[in-house]
Symmetry: D2
Subunit: 322 residues, 4 copies
């Protein structure tokens, strides 16, 4: 019996512009990242705004388990099946964290003959979106400590800083740290935390945003701490949101890959279902709905958590943004 890896590596991939063409997208609509991956320009949404909307299929599961339940495999398989039936279908799934990639759970690209390919970039850097999220997240973190260091004009209470730093590796030693040691130049000394990048609020925001302007607004409203008087301190107060948006300019664009059978697969964002809404991005779903007859997506974790958040956060935005 062949392993997932064997099957994925044996796959003969279609050129990505051909996959894009299945969705009615031209070379001007995509930016290639190598031969089999492309980012989709958001301008597509304006161009297709009057296009009829496809149908929306959500795969969920009742009980989450440490080893997963097969939601992604089912989602991809369903997309492939619809395509084989001659329907214009697209699957929208999340990009996995590199952390678990080196752990037990394995890749998040599906399994067996129901996978998204190419497998290796999918499981590693892909087009760098997670790195960009990490850079934006950590820029804000650095600006907080920098603000404390330079006189703390906003009168931030250092003990209320809830904005962590992130790293895209499972690194237990960074979970709880003390930062700012080594003297006045590096201070203030603080207890601090690192999370895994996909758990960042920036990742959740990226998944829920409907465009660059909306992203800029949402980032600016992030609350990172409170003043000694109890007032919230936001990324806008620290003048961080503009630079964060610049860092996310490419990451906001969904990535186009393909299933093992060559039908389109949109891969975008990776919000942790246990703390965020746990579905792929609103933008990926919107593009799918405008370009295909069927969009098959999944909502993370068990139905009790993931599907509820999906209905509350993901669904409304699809309507308003379309």
């Amino acid at each position: 019996m062949l392993s997932d890896l064997d099957i994925a590596q044996a796959a003969r991939l279609r050129p990505i512009h051909a996959v894009a063409a299945d969705l009615g997208l031209t070379d001007d609509d995509i930016e290639r990242y190598g031969r089999n991956i492309a980012k989709i320009d958001l301008a597509v949404l304006q161009r297709l705004t009057d296009h009829p909307r496809g149908r929306y299929i959500v795969v969920t599961a009742i009980t989450p388990t440490p080893l997963g339940e097969g939601k992604t495999t089912t989602t991809i398989g369903l997309g492939q099946a619809l395509a084989r039936l001659g329907k214009r279908s697209v699957v929208t799934i999340r990009q996995p964290s590199m952390g678990p990639t080196f752990g037990i759970k394995g890749g998040a690209a599906g399994g067996g003959y129901s996978q998204v390919v190419p497998m290796e970039p999918f499981n590693l850097h892909l087009t760098g979106d997670i790195h960009a999220v990490g850079a934006a997240h950590n820029l804000l973190a650095a600006m907080i400590d920098n603000h404390l260091h330079h006189g703390n004009r906003l009168d931030i209470d250092p003990y209320t800083v809830s904005w962590t730093r992130v790293v895209d590796i499972s690194d237990r030693a960074l979970r709880q740290v003390i930062v700012g040691l080594g003297g006045k130049e590096n201070g203030p000394v603080r207890q601090a935390q690192f999370d895994i990048t996909v758990a960042s609020e920036v990742m959740a925001i990226l998944a829920l945003t409907t465009g660059l302007h909306d992203l800029r607004q949402r980032l600016g409203r992030i609350v990172v701490a409170h003043t000694r008087d109890g007032a919230p301190v936001t990324a806008d107060d620290l003048r961080a949101a503009g630079a964060m948006t610049v860092l996310l300019k490419e990451a906001i664009k969904p990535n186009l890959l393909q299933t093992l059978e060559g039908s389109p697969a949109l891969v975008h964002c990776g919000p942790f279902a246990n703390i965020a809404h746990g579905a792929s991005s609103v933008l990926a779903d919107l593009i799918g709905l405008h370009c295909a007859d069927y969009v098959v997506t999944e909502s993370g974790f068990g139905a009790d958590i993931g599907f509820e958040k999906f209905c509350e956060h993901q669904m409304p935005r699809l309507g308003s943004g379309a």
Copy 2:
């Protein structure tokens, strides 16, 4: 008078495959990253191994200053001038760290009418190479603490761990930290450091390597600590080098951009001249030497440091690898 940014944004860029064609490279030799950036496949080196070698021009400067001395601007201008004279020329320069991008020194793409474009991706993520270096570096760091945590089979003396973590942001609070707090699950508790990613030894290795196999060997020989008996502990001892190499599979390929006048510019690696050799990569130079009549490159920092290291480390590898 127009600013560097005005000039760069007003530039009309040639499609990257046309720029590649000037170097005798076909669509099969490159992997596009968007419209104006491509990675060059290392297989090119095998194909062109018998190709006559171009000439090699090194720009250096006597005295380093905090604001730079114009080495990159001169390098790019020289490349443009040679191209205008009808010569097949290519410039090879380093990718800047994002950290200083938000600081005083500004971009590292040259200046005035002597710039590499597109400017924005050049100064930000580009094709994700620095992120990949950071991921490989931090994976090794996590594996060290993980090894200490799981019984320390190699008998590493924790006080000898010289391998830091890295972040691609100027973050003073991370310069000196304590990691491993929060109880046994996160331990051991250690004093540790963060460097900026471009200062990573992985970056220096990537710039000096002559191929994927050589990279794997060099990564494996990195010394990260010593045992209590004083024996060196390497990345190979920790079985980290294989995964690190996988993470660097794309980053090893030089990036093709263009000058403001449309001539080819290879952008690769960003080793810190004050601690490493401070020049673009051996692989970028090799590709340039096989594909062009003139390769204009620069050696970082002052001639007393940068040029000396250039002659000692960069030059010999060009010969042996060609």
Copy 3:
């Protein structure tokens, strides 16, 4: 109306040898500490072993409050009243921590015309017993980290070290600390705690011991950590108990002071009622029972906690040791 301090300072104190004489103790039985304080030699117990035993009166209270309930004042007043009635009476109370002395609760010497004097030494160093407890406690703590530093022959799991350090000042900054920083010579780095000295297990042991030999045994059995295999590590395993006993050689002897009306008051130990049994020492009570007709003592905190522990820990020892 006069304050407690006014009343205490206006008191005319009897020479301490005269107070001792009331208890049938000669100059050979006591060691003077200044004019109005003496330590009682434990040899007294052997000499008086066949002496008839006095009666034992315990003062307790139902509900503890942050400001106290007046147990000590009642205890002292009762001792004074019995003496005025012509009975040979002695009160046994605890020595207060210096920490709260500088806080709101004020002294622990009683109040009004029901106080133990001299007030100032009572509330400060007295005869140095608390300092000795602190020195013994911290010696053991230093020997633990020293053991970890020098190869950890006992294979102590550093995360199981439950032995804190102590300080006799309310010092919030020391509650949670990281020790062992500054390099290998000072290591290992560990999260650690400081308690207030009177909360030390050494203080509880000193209050419950029946003699120097018993003290040595009890100190040796203190569990300070566990091995990686889960076996308990004791002060004897670290060879600390002998030196600790030497440091407590004087502290084991009860201190003789007087009430405002000149009747004898034994002041000894200061175990925290909320974590220990919260009564003065077994040795002070035993001496009192052999030398007086009535011993009035108190059990700390509310009756539900303090009196229960008193009956369980203090009472049995009085019988067996007598």
Copy 4:
């Protein structure tokens, strides 16, 4: 051959009041601490102010060594010899730290037949002076962090806090610590140090003071930190000096012990010669000069450091205070 300990334990000690009588001191002039130790009341100085002054003999040595050079042994022997010659002599020496007591150097009570006795209390708590110095020192330290915690009214720059904490044990793990962890209630988080108690500036001050009022003034002038504007912050600014003085009320009085031949020995203070002036106290010397024909003292470390500081700091105060 008998050890120092054998000799010291075999000694038959004179009652301390008899030793005091040799110096012309009555029972009213001393406060006994057990049978063989007494503190001398400072009122003695007023009473004897017109008394003729004795001669002052300083023992020093050229080169300090890790094992000592025998200065104390010579000092004590000289005092004994003068007494045997029928002269009224007294030796003044320092009290040793308990830290080194458990180390290699052994006691500091002299050696052979030239010792100060009783040996054990001399080497341990004696009359609690070092504990009192530690308590005063640590009270000031706690008040600094408490001040930072409660709004920092004085605008102290936390990085300028030069006042350490102290412990009277050789405890390597405390040399460099981080304090203030565990949340806002315990903060601020700071890098801090512990010294050994005898290295405290409070100890140096106690050795140089000429009386309680002078002590209060000197303690108040201790500089513990600087404001953000660079102004010094003193113990008086923190209102700590009063409480510190109270804690030192007994420690300011010199301790009277005896040599093996029964002649008087004043033991007081223990300033570290390598950082302070390294001689016994001005007050002990002054009392000696008023009560005896010959005062034999020593200046710590080598003559190049200790004797020079002795002449500069100790000598002038003897004149002015007499």
